[in-house]
Symmetry: C2
Subunit: 436 residues, 2 copies
C-alpha cells in the first residue's frame, strides 16, 4: 500500500466526513457495535492465534493480558461505544458569535481536525476505542497497531470499516497500516495528515517526534510526583502512594518520585518505606532519606533499604516497582523540584493545609495537579470523557487525557453583505463588536 | 547573551508570572503606556536614526512606512494597551468543573502557555503589541524584531521591561534578542520555550518550522481565494475583489486567486478584468479565462490581458498586484480547487444562493471561510480581539487571528479526600460524573 497516496485521498474526503450528521456518525457506531458482536467468534479465533504465537515467542505474562480479546473485552468496548453514542456532537458547536458591524457576523464553530494518524501498542481494544473516537469526532484515521496482535487487528479493522461504510460514511474514512515501514511513510505525510498520536515507549514517541513535521500529540515521559506536606493524614498518604505506585506500574500516571516535607519525614518516611517494601517496591533516594530511615526505631529491618541516587536520576521514569525518595524544606522546594525534573504530566500534593495546596496547584506547571488523591486518576474514562486517544503533556491544543473535545478544532465563519476593508480603514465604516 | 541560559531562567520564573493577579498585570500595562508617552522624544529620536539609515540603504517606500514610529503610531499602541486593559482576564477561567465522586472534584482552568518566542518584522509598533499581549495573558516572552529598527526596538524594549518590573512583574518576564545568530540559539531551546511565533516571509517561516522541535504557530502561505458564484451581485463582487486584492497587497489575507462560475463568466469576467487592470493589477489565468475576456465586447482593450498559467501556478502567493483567474463548473469544483491548492488561511464565496454558501462554508477547510465580504477581514483587531500576535493556519490549538485566547492553555486540577484508583478498579467505589 502506498500510504502517501492513500493519505492524499483521505485528506480530500475529510471534509465529507466532517459534514456528516451526528445521526449518521452515531448510526455508524451502532453498526460497528452490532458487527463486532455478530462476528465475535471470528475475532476470538484470530486473537487466539495471535496469543498462541506470542506465548510461543516467550512474551511476558503482564503483556499477554493486554493482547487478549475475549467476551469481557468485547463487552467493555461495546459499552464504550454506547457511551460515545450518548455523548453530544463535538462538532458544529458555535463557540463565539459576534456581530462586527451591521450585516457582518463572525462565528467560530468547532470542526474535526481532519486526518489523524494513531500508532498504538498491541491492544485490540485500543483499535476499537481509537477508531470509534475518531469517527464520532468526524475525523479520518490511519491506524497502526502493535505487531503482536496483527491478526486480531486485521479482523477487527475490516469489521469496523465495513460497518462504518455500510452506515453511509465515506469509504476512505479509515485506513489500516500493517507494515512497520509504513510508519516511516506516514511520518512524511505532513501535507495530508493533520495530527499524529503515538502511544508507546519513551524512545518510540521520541523517535516519532524527531522524525516528522506533522504535529504530534502525546507524551514521551510520565514522571509523576507526590509531595507529602507537613500537615498530612499519614494513613491516607500511605494508601495513596501505594496505589499510585503499585495499582498499575506500567502506566504513565504511576508515581515515580515521592517528595516529603523534612519536618514530617522522621515520623512518616520509615513507615512509608516499610509499607512500600511490603508491597514489593524497591526504594531509591537521597542520602538524607536513607539516614532518616536508618535512624528510625524500625531501623533493624531497613538498613540499606535505599539505593542512593544523584540529582539527575530524578529524571528517570521507572514504570516498575521502584520509587525515588527525597526530603524537601517546604512546598516551594517541592514545586521547584517538580517543575525542574518532572515531565509536566500529573503531580499530587497530600496536605491538610489549604494555603500550601493552593500554592502547589497554582505553581506546578503540569497537565494535572491534584490534592489528596492518587496520580492514577489521570485518565479519560476517570475524567468522564468516555474514552481517550492518549494523554498530552504538550501545552498546545489539548492537555491531559484527550477525548472527543481534544479531537476537534474550530474555524471562523464570516457572513457579510458586501463589506470591504477599505471602508473600515478609511473610517467610512466602523466596527461595533456585539456578541450574539 | 546566552539565550539558552536566559530561557532556562525564564522557564522557572514563568509560574510566578502565571500566578500574578489581573490587577498587577493591568497596572504593568498602564505603567508601560505612561512610560512610552513620557519617553516619546527618546523613542522618536532613535526611530529617526533607524529611518535615516534605512533610507540611505535604499529601502522601498512601502517598507519605510512600516519602520516609522511617530505620534500617530504612539497614539495607536497606547489605545491598543487601553483596550487590552479593558479585556477580561484570560487566565484562571474555570472551563469545566465536574464532581467525579463524592469529595473528588475535577476542574479545568485556563493558564498561560509559559514561555513564548516571537520573531517579527521591522515594525516597532509590533514590539509593543506583542509584549503587552504576552504580559496580559501571563506569558513570558523572548522578542526578536527586524534589524532595520534595532535602535528603536532597543529603546522601546527597555522602557517596556522597566515599566513592567516597576509594577511588580518578575525581572525575567521579557527578554530581547538582538543578534541574528540568537535566532538559531532560540530554536534549540525546546526544553524551555513552549511556543514560537514567527512572522515574516514564507521562506523565513518555513526555515523556522524546519529547524526547531518547539511547536510553531503561524502561517507560511496566505493563498486566499474568492469564488464568484452564478447568482451574485456583480457590483458588490467587483468592489470586494478590488478591496481584497489592492487594499493592502503585502498582507497574508489579500486574495491571490479568483474562481468564477462558468455560467456568469462571460458577463462578469470582462468587466472584472477591466476594473482590476484599472486598479493596476496584472492578470494571470487559464486559457479559458483569457478566451472569455478576448471574446467579450470589451475585447479591444483586453487582448493578451491574461498571462496563461498552469495548474501548479495556483499555489503561488503573489503579495503583489497580480491575481490568478480560473473558471469552475460549480461550487463543488471551487471547493475542490481551494482545498487542493489553498493554504487553509481565508477564503470567501460571493453569492445570493444560501445553499451554495452553506455548502462552501461547510466544506472549505480553512481557518476563515467567508460569505459576501473581503478576505482582508481576517485580522485580530477586525475580529474584536483587541490585537493579534499572528494568524494561524495550523489546526491545533489556535486557528485564524491569535489574540489573548490563543495565548492560553489549561490545566486540570483534581481535589480529593484520599481517593485511590484501586477502589474504582475493584468496584468498591464508582464514579458519578456530575458537572458543577
Amino acid at each position: 500500500m502506498n500510504i502517501r497516496e492513500e493519505a492524499r485521498k483521505m485528506k480530500l474526503v475529510a471534509p465529507v466526513l466532517a459534514a456528516s450528521s451526528n445521526e449518521m456518525r452515531n448510526s455508524a457506531l451502532r453498526a460497528i457495535a452490532e458487527a463486532l458482536a455478530a462476528n465475535k467468534e471470528k475475532i476470538f479465533a484470530a486473537n487466539a492465534e495471535d496469543c498462541r504465537a506470542a506465548e510461543e515467542g516467550g512474551i511476558a505474562p503482564a503483556v499477554m493480558k493486554r493482547l487478549a480479546f475475549n467476551e469481557s473485552k468485547l463487552a467493555d468496548v461495546c459499552k464504550g461505544i454506547d457511551q460515545l453514542i450518548s455523548l453530544p456532537d463535538p462538532i458544529g458547536k458555535s463557540l463565539l458569535k459576534r456581530e462586527l458591524d451591521a450585516g457582518l457576523v463572525l462565528e467560530r464553530v468547532s470542526v474535526p481536525i481532519g486526518v489523524i494518524g494513531v500508532i498504538f501498542e498491541a491492544r485490540p481494544d485500543a483499535l476499537v476505542q481509537i477508531s470509534t473516537l475518531c469517527l464520532k469526532s468526524g475525523n479520518c484515521a490511519i491506524l497502526k497497531g502493535g505487531k503482536e496482535t496483527a491478526g486480531t487487528n486485521r479482523v477487527l479493522f475490516s469489521i469496523i470499516r465495513d460497518a462504518a461504510v455500510s452506515a453511509g460514511l465515506p469509504a476512505q474514512c479509515l485506513l489500516q497500516a500493517e507494515l512497520h515501514n509504513e510508519i516511516d511513510e506516514l511520518l512524511q505525510c505532513e501535507k495530508d495528515v493533520d495530527l499524529l498520536i503515538p502511544r508507546g515507549s519513551n524512545q518510540f514517541v521520541q523517535y516519532i517526534m524527531n522524525n516528522t513535521k506533522i504535529p504530534v500529540m502525546g507524551h514521551a515521559d510520565g514522571i509523576c510526583h507526590i509531595y507529602v506536606d507537613r500537615d498530612v493524614d499519614m494513613d491516607m498518604a500511605t494508601d495513596i502512594i501505594i496505589d499510585a505506585k503499585t495499582q498499575y506500574t506500567a502506566a504513565c500516571n504511576a508515581v515515580e518520585t515521592i517528595l516529603i516535607h523534612r519536618d514530617i519525614a522522621p515520623l512518616f518516611l520509615p513507615r512509608l518505606a516499610r509499607d512500600l517494601k511490603a508491597a514489593g517496591v524497591k526504594l531509591r533516594g537521597t542520602q538524607e532519606a536513607e539516614d532518616v530511615i536508618v535512624r528510625s526505631s524500625e531501623a533493624a529491618e531497613h538498613i540499606d533499604a535505599v539505593d542512593i541516587m544523584g540529582e539527575d536520576d530524578f529524571r528517570t521514569e521507572y514504570l516498575d516497582l521502584v520509587v525515588s525518595l527525597k526530603l524537601v524544606a517546604d512546598v516551594e522546594e517541592a514545586i521547584d523540584h517538580i517543575n525542574r525534573y518532572g515531565s509536566h504530566h500529573t503531580d499530587s500534593i497530600l496536605t491538610r493545609d489549604d494555603a500550601a495546596a493552593a500554592r502547589f496547584m497554582q505553581m506546578v506547571d503540569s497537565a494535572g495537579v491534584y490534592r489528596n488523591c492518587s496520580t492514577r486518576f489521570a485518565d479519560g474514562f476517570r475524567y468522564g470523557f468516555g474514552a481517550e486517544v492518549g494523554i498530552s503533556t504538550s501545552k498546545l491544543h489539548a492537555r491531559g487525557p484527550v477525548g472527543l473535545e481534544g479531537l476537534v478544532t474550530y474555524k471562523y465563519l464570516l457572513n457579510g453583505s458586501g463589506q470591504i476593508v477599505g471602508d473600515y480603514a478609511s473610517g467610512r465604516s466602523s466596527f461595533h463588536f456585539r456578541d450574539l
